[in-house]
């Protein structure tokens, strides 16, 4: 039984082409990019090239790209970096209730340090209303952070509209694009964003490397102080191989986007349709503005982790916002913010597709899931068949 991997929103396998691009930078071109001699200069060139590639793909300038250790660092740098740099101008920050914890917890920590925070609600499909952003903006608002697409339910926010509102007001706008980079076409000018975070391992690049776009003119206090790397905005010897891998993976994703997207949407819709046929099942998120690879449903009366374990026993790798998988008592903060009850939210299942998934796999999954759901319901004290 080979594994059917349906958790591409969690992470993706490194593509062989990407690994190949990285390999020379481990022990051949291993120089420190800050060094003046040949090995250092060649490593520096590789960084420059990677930076150009990423900038190009985002419609940005090379000096607007900062490489980080992943999406979490990028988002933390964006938020804390702007907050510290502009604290004398204002101390108010706006975000939404369904952000990834990398954003939410960074903002909540700043609140502890004396910043003021407004957390915007979302509707039952997970949308932030641009009007609510407009209303929340204050004279001392320095930063708004709204994610591009949600990692759990796949809802794609109206970032362009929110960005236009934030810009007109004169605050800075960050979007966490970790789930959309490599999946949707990103253009920082069209999106009206000042800062944008992404992470390589979400698009078949290596884990432990990400990037932050910072519009020219936006100041940042570094999260990591030290050497002069990344124009003094992020210290530390650069993960050259990782950065080369990020650029290569991003480039490949962009080149194949059209084709892959069609494939993903087909599988996604097949899954959504099949799962909706199970009684007492609710689809979470928007059906119109949804990531092409995201399926998220709640099966009433059952709990997420036991569902996942059963899927695993059948060779299917999926995910859940279940409390039991996250180590907290509360289920997904995203589903709760969308108005679901605790009980229903506990039974959520997220399946996220990738370029190598096949129709046969989806067919198999659609055979197994109803059996598992029925079995768990039969042992649930909440279910009266």
């Amino acid at each position: 039984m080979s594994e059917i991997y349906l958790d591409h929103a969690a992470t993706t396998p490194l593509r062989p082409e990407v690994l190949e691009a990285m390999l020379p930078y481990f022990n051949q071109e291993f120089g420190n990019p800050s060094s003046v001699y040949g090995a250092g200069r060649r490593a520096h060139q590789a960084l420059d090239q990677a930076r150009d590639t990423v900038a190009d793909l985002l419609g940005a300038k090379s000096e607007e790209i900062i490489f980080t250790s992943g999406g979490s660092e990028a988002a933390n740098l964006a938020i804390k970096g702007v907050a510290w740099a502009y604290q004398t101008k204002g101390k108010h920050i706006i975000t939404s209730a369904i952000e990834h914890h990398a954003v939410l917890d960074a903002v909540l920590w700043l609140k502890q340090q004396g910043f003021e925070v407004t957390i915007l609600p979302v509707d039952e499909e997970g949308f932030v209303d641009p009007q609510s952003v407009q209303e929340a903006l204050r004279g001392d608002t320095i930063l708004v952070s709204i994610m591009h697409a949600n990692n759990e339910v796949g809802t794609i926010q109206p970032i362009e509209d929110i960005g236009a509102i934030v810009r007109a007001h004169g605050a800075f706008f960050h979007t966490d694009a970790v789930q959309t980079a490599g999946i949707l076409d990103l253009d920082v000018a069209e999106l009206n964003v000042d800062l944008l975070s992404l992470s390589a391992h979400k698009f078949y690049g290596p884990k432990g490397v990400g990037a932050l776009y910072v519009r020219k003119g936006v100041r940042l206090d570094p999260l990591i102080h030290g050497g002069a790397q990344e124009k003094r905005r992020r210290a530390g010897t650069e993960n050259v191989a990782g950065i080369v891998g990020l650029a290569k993976a991003f480039e490949l994703a962009q080149a194949e986007r059209g084709e892959v997207t069609r494939h993903l949407i087909q599988l996604r819709d097949q899954l959504l349709q099949g799962l909706q046929a199970i009684p007492h099942t609710k689809v979470n998120g928007s059906l119109e503005r949804r990531l092409p690879n995201n399926v998220n449903v709640c099966f009433q009366f059952i709990e997420g982790e036991s569902l996942l374990l059963n899927l695993d026993l059948k060779g299917i790798a999926g995910s859940s916002g279940s409390a039991c998988t996250s180590g907290s008592l509360d289920p997904s903060h995203v589903l709760l913010a969308m108005g679901l009850s605790h009980e229903i939210a506990h039974g959520s299942l997220r399946l996220t597709l990738g370029r190598e998934n096949t129709q046969d796999q989806v067919t198999y999954v659609l055979e197994e899931i109803p059996i598992i759901v029925e079995r768990l319901r039969a042992m649930s004290p909440l279910y009266n068949a």
């Binding site: 009366f301 059952i302 709990e303 997420g304 982790e305 036991s306 374990l309 026993l313 279940s322 409390a323 039991c324 180590g327 008592l329 509360d330 289920p331 009850s341 605790h342 009980e343 506990h346 039969a378 042992m379 649930s380 004290p381 909440l382």
Partner: protein, 125 residues
């Protein structure tokens, strides 16, 4: 993550179901924290003759429910009341630390069922 014994009870849970006209029923947990266990017991001459359970919860919740049914059957009520969440975890050859807290409620559910039995069957000396 889980021991083989946990996975065994999770994949083949013993004594799932309800007991019609049970002598005692106990329920603990709530949907908010994601675990609900309900246990039915059949008692004869102070001895637990049968136990059945239904559980809404994670793998650990299901496995602890299952194993406690095996642990309880044949015991006197007094003996069964001595079963602790800790001894359930030990019977399962350990549980992940995160699960010790919120999902290991089976002993509580059993005690609740025994209490229910005692309330319905007061000892008339």
């Amino acid at each position: 993550m889980y021991s083989d014994k946990v996975m065994d009870h999770f994949t083949n849970p013993r004594n799932v179901g309800e007991i019609a006209n049970a002598d005692g029923v106990g329920e603990v947990g709530n949907a908010r924290c994601g675990d609900i266990m309900k246990i039915w017991i059949k008692v004869e001459d102070g001895i637990i003759q049968d136990v059945k359970f239904k559980t809404f919860g994670c793998g650990a919740a299901i496995a602890t429910s299952s194993v406690i049914t095996e642990m309880a059957i044949g015991k006197t009520l007094d003996e069964a009341e001595e079963i602790t969440n800790k001894s359930v975890a030990e019977e399962l050859e350990g549980l992940p630390p995160l699960k010790m807290h919120c999902s290991n409620l089976a002993a509580d559910a059993l005690r609740a069922a025994i209490e229910d039995y005692r309330k319905k069957h007061p000892i008339t000396a």
